[in-house]
């Protein structure tokens, strides 16, 4: 016999669907894209004077494991901003992205009542837990011990009331005057990982506290959300607008529905101006501001179109019917540069030159998260690199494709910076590049290294992987991984499995064992990659001279071709196969490879002319190499190159000095 609660579960789901205005009125996907483990129905009211949310939420959760589950665990992210002693605030040193919290800036969320659909009160069973650090002041995870366990395959529905106070805009959520970016705002279930899923051995909730350097992790499902707020506000949200009902003279209720997403965020402001454009069957809805209409709005839309185009060809067309792009209000930049399903926030500033492509970078990056995070639902708490790093790699490719490899970040007054170069330099410029492996829990990373390791170094590792296996195989890897794991929760092991599968089948002669050797070094190791040309020497072969057993040879003349010795060195700990190009004095070249295992390697060439130049990785396939300066050597440096540098300096110094003539 099923427990009473669960006997009513099907009825509860039906009631959730029927009683919720707007829900199930409009189906987005006839065939679900995901397992839809959770279903949320939320009524929320925004009080713009008090900056509070009052909500009632029904959530259903299906136990997909083979064991009964006796509790539920919710994220209460807003409590990270409750006081100075939360884990997030402690880890951030009280300063979040250069913002300190003022006396009235704190935010929090209280679950005031929780009950089963049958009316069984669960409030007394709620308790805050701190699974990561035991910090008793941290209330970002709420555990509810159920009166009866949820059997395998069954669904439970709970109803809860909550009140929340939004913080002054921080970590991409909160308010700034009458601008609202409402993210991570409702009690949200963690992910129950059955045994065998990701790294789970016994099954259990994966529900981490909110840390300074972590993001989110949740199950895919369906959201029906009704937002009531003042009538003058323009709203953008995850999902599609199902209905917009005016209530009296001052209020309105907007109903949104989102399917096969794992989060729901919304934004509101009376100052939004809406720009809409269609890309194939996708509506691009830009929420911007009066003074940014025109050029800035166009840049947002074009960047979004570029990203839509690229991903459609590369992985698969964007499946949702809408993407909302939010241009944060002036002085609300803290809310910019964030991804939520079907909603991204960008960043722009009127007056910046159009060839400084910050708006495009942020837009393309955040749109990329629709794939790497939105559809590939990896655990951002534990493996941030799997979405941020992969997405950074994607951003570089798209920016190079759309705006030029060397000009994609900046192309101004002869100064050119490419997005991929910039990412690489962020890694190579690290003061301590060996301080933590990429595959480290973000809150355990060396201070200041989270961003570089999770974003930049991972992108460089992937770009180097592309260099090793080739663009075509890399594309196959990325597409296979995406198609196999979309709307699921993959981990590093799953990514590596796809890489190994594709590489070992496509490049059997070179990498028959797969690429674990590469990931062991780059994701889990802290060594650097640095190959160098150590020496070049050439001399003509001469006839034998001196006393031999049967004769004395006195020949002195040159005999035969040159014998050249090239010495390559591995200065870093990472071992990779590298190509190197040898150029001879007669202009001929040859390209060889070195497995890169030993600390140094000698190569001897017998050729009609002497070796004049050697270049390791001539096609720049290994951006992971931390120093490109020592990748090449010439026996006769071309003075024109340094003369060119000197000449350019001369011109601009003379210009500068000439300006002093004004004195």
């Amino acid at each position: 016999m099923k427990p009473l609660l669960l006997q009513f579960a099907p009825l509860a789901i039906l009631s959730l669907a029927v009683c919720s205005p707007g829900s199930a009125r409009q189906t987005i996907f006839v065939t679900p894209l995901s397992d839809r483990i959770v279903q949320y129905s939320i009524d929320v009211t925004l009080d713009v004077d008090a900056k509070t949310l009052t909500g009632r939420q029904r959530v259903s959760w299906r136990n997909t494991s083979t064991k009964p589950v006796s509790d539920l665990q919710f994220h209460l992210y807003l409590n990270a901003f409750k006081n100075s002693e939360t884990t997030l605030m402690r880890e951030a040193g009280g300063v979040l992205r250069n913002n300190t919290m003022g006396a009235n800036d704190w935010g929090w969320i209280d679950v005031v009542r929780m009950k089963t659909l049958a009316g069984e009160d669960l409030s007394a069973r709620m308790q805050f837990i701190q699974p990561d650090d035991g910090n008793v002041h941290d209330q970002t995870v709420l555990r509810v011990v159920l009166p009866r366990a949820v059997p395998a395959g069954e669904t439970i529905v709970v109803e809860l009331d909550f009140t929340a106070r939004l913080p002054k805009l921080v970590r991409r959520t909160g308010y700034m005057e009458d601008y609202y970016m409402v993210g991570q705002w409702f009690p949200k279930l963690g992910v129950y990982e059955p045994a065998g899923m990701r790294y789970s051995t016994n099954g259990g909730w994966n529900c981490h506290q909110f840390h300074a350097n972590t993001e989110f992790y949740a199950d895919f499902g369906v959201y029906d959300v009704r937002i009531t707020l003042p009538k003058a506000y323009v709203v953008g949200a995850t999902g599609i607008l199902v209905s917009d009902v005016v209530r009296g003279d001052t209020a309105r209720t907007l109903t949104f529905r989102a399917e096969d997403v794992h989060d729901f965020a919304w934004t509101a402001s009376p100052d939004y101006r809406v720009v809409e454009k269609k890309w194939r069957n996708v509506s691009i809805r830009l929420l911007t501001h009066e003074h940014r209409l025109g050029e800035i709005a166009d840049r947002y839309v074009r960047a979004t179109e570029h990203a839509l185009d690229y991903f459609a060809d590369w992985l698969m067309p964007y499946p949702y019917p809408m993407i909302t792009v939010v241009d944060p209000a002036f002085r609300a930049e803290e809310g910019g540069g964030m991804e939520y399903p079907m909603l991204i926030t960008g960043g722009s500033l009127r007056g910046l030159p159009s060839t400084l492509r910050l708006t495009e970078i942020v837009t393309i990056h955040e749109f990329g998260h629709q794939y790497w995070y939105g559809m590939i639902g990896n655990n951002e708490f534990e493996e941030a690199w799997l979405d941020e790093g992969v997405n950074q790699y994607s951003e570089g490719r798209i920016m190079s494709w759309a705006y030029g490899k060397q000009t994609s970040t900046l192309d101004l007054w002869g100064i050119r910076i490419g997005d991929e170069e910039q990412t690489r330099l962020q890694y190579t410029g690290m003061k301590y590049p060996s301080n933590s492996p990429i595959a480290t829990l973000p809150w355990n990373m060396a201070p200041g290294s989270y961003s570089t390791l999770s974003y930049a170094k991972t992108a460089v590792v992937l770009a180097t992987l592309e260099g090793l296996v080739g663009r075509e195989v890399m594309d196959e890897i990325m597409k296979t991984f995406f198609m196999r794991w979309k709307f699921k929760h993959p981990c590093e092991r799953d990514f590596r499995a796809v890489v190994n599968e594709v590489v070992s089948s496509r490049l059997r002669d070179r990498f028959s064992e797969g690429m674990d050797w590469y990931f062991d070094q780059t994701l889990h190791g802290t060594e650097i990659c640095d190959y160098a040309v150590a020496n070049i020497s050439s001399s003509p072969q001469r006839s034998k001279r001196g006393r031999f057993e049967d004769s004395v040879l006195t020949g002195t003349g040159r005999l035969g071709p040159y014998e050249s010795v090239v010495i390559l060195a591995r200065k870093g700990g990472i071992r990779l196969p590298v190509e190197f190009r040898v150029t001879f004095e007669d202009g001929s070249t040859r390209t060889d490879s070195w497995d890169g295992q030993e600390r140094w390697k000698r190569y001897t060439y017998t050729h009609a002319a002497a070796v004049t130049e050697v270049t390791i990785d001539p096609h720049k396939k290994i951006p992971l190499d931390i120093s490109l300066l020592n990748n090449s050597m010439t026996v006769s440096p071309d003075p024109v190159s340094s003369s060119r540098v000197a000449w350019k300096v001369f011109q601009w110094v003379q210009n500068l000095l000439s300006m002093m003539m004004l004195f």
């Binding site: 501001h289 009066e290 003074h291 002036f330 002085r331 500033l349 009127r350 007056g351 060397q406 007054w413 002869g414 100064i415 050119r416 910076i417 490419g418 170069e421 910039q422 690489r424 330099l425 190579t428 410029g429 130049e613 270049t615 120093s627 490109l628 300066l629 020592n630 990748n631 090449s632 050597m633 010439t634 026996v635 440096p637 071309d638 024109v640 190159s641 340094s642 003369s643 060119r644 540098v645 000197a646 000449w647 350019k648 300096v649 001369f650 011109q651 110094v653 003379q654 210009n655 500068l656 000095l657 000439s658 300006m659 002093m660 003539m661 004004l662 004195f663």
Partner: protein, 354 residues
């Protein structure tokens, strides 16, 4: 009418004093040369025998430049120190030639050999240098006040403005105001220099403010000529930038070709500068001749013959002026100090005065 006369007569004076233009261009070129050689040396040291720098196919390849800087922090320090040292030396050089250039533009009787310009300039160098300091201090003080004011105003805008347009407009306004203030401070300095040369003023400080007063009294023609100077300078900078951006310098031949083109541009810029001084002298003369009949040009500090004299002749033929030279003043002071030591005879400067 006076503006047209300034343009016309200033141009004629510039044409006469073409060697001053060459000298002006030479000063900046000679000053820039050691810095560029220093950069080249440091670059070679950093890059050594790598082929890396040959990837520098365009002027600013971010990877190459950043990598060289990242891996060789000493290079940056050396170059920055070199540039700063050169700026100081260049300031001295400019002070040395400035007086001669103004005199060459003002005085048709003065021989316009480079040696003569240098010789005359040397007489004014001390005062020009002091005036430059006055200018620099004023620019720093006024600039600092403006930056602080801008910061306060912009901060207010950030707190109260509804959109960034207001802040950007405020910044643009401050920027424009800053340019105008900078422009006036420089123009006043120019007329201060003209005062020194034309009037024989001794005090750089007073000259600056006399120049300022003169400029403000005749602000329309004076400011118009400086607007031409600013416009011409910007035009030449733009032309240079266009050429620099469009042409790929990848061989010695191209380096030589672009060098010629660039130095021609610098000559034009120097010409505009000398023209500006010439027109300032025209304005000064015109005003002074209408109020004070004679003389329009202060006596030359050196009696220079129209027949080109030797450098020694120029130096030895310096006239006695009404007021004692600053060097004479210093000598007097030193003499008083040294009088406490009667056993030592004051040293001769080696410069005989008649």
């Amino acid at each position: 009418m006076i503006l047209l006369q300034m343009i016309h007569d200033g141009f004629l004076a510039t044409a006469r004093a073409w060697r001053a233009i060459v000298l002006l261009a030479l000063v900046s070129a000679i000053s820039a040369l050691p810095v560029s050689m220093l950069v080249r040396g440091q670059w070679d040291k950093a890059v050594q025998s790598s082929l890396f720098s040959e990837q520098l196919m365009e002027w600013f390849d971010f990877t190459v430049i950043t990598e060289v800087i990242q891996k060789n922090p000493g290079v940056t320090q050396a170059v920055v120190s070199g540039v700063l040292a050169m700026l100081l030396l260049h300031a001295l050089a400019v002070a040395l030639v400035g007086g001669g250039i103004i005199r060459a533009a003002a005085d048709p009787a003065m021989p316009r050999t480079i040696r003569a310009i240098l010789s005359v300039g040397g007489e004014y160098a001390g005062r020009f240098l002091r005036l430059m300091l006055v200018e620099a201090v004023l620019i720093l003080v006024v600039g600092g006040i403006m930056v602080v004011a801008a910061a306060v105003v912009v901060q207010g805008f950030v707190q109260n403005a509804e959109r960034e347009t207001s802040i950007i407009n405020a910044l643009y306004t401050f920027g424009a105001l800053g340019v105008i203030v900078f422009y006036f401070l420089l123009a006043w300095g120019d007329y201060g220099r003209v005062h020194i040369v034309m009037n024989g003023d001794r005090s750089a400080f007073k000259s600056y403010f006399r120049g300022a007063a003169f400029h403000l009294r005749h602000v329309l023609p004076a400011a118009s000529m400086h607007a031409l100077l600013a416009g011409g300078t910007l035009l030449m900078l733009w032309l240079h930038w266009i050429i620099d951006d469009r042409i790929s310098v990848d061989s010695r031949l191209m380096i030589a070709a672009t060098f010629v083109v660039f130095e021609l541009i610098m000559l034009v810029r120097s010409g505009i500068r000398v023209w500006n001084y010439g027109s300032a002298v025209v304005l000064w003369n015109s005003v002074k001749s209408s109020s004070v009949p004679e003389p329009t040009v202060a006596p030359l500090p050196a009696m220079i013959s129209p027949v080109e004299p030797s450098f020694t002749q120029i130096i030895q033929s310096a006239p006695r002026t009404v007021e004692p030279e600053p060097t004479q003043r210093r000598r007097k002071i030193r003499s008083r100090t040294m009088a406490k030591k009667p056993q030592r005879k004051p040293k001769s400067s080696g410069r005989k005065r008649t």
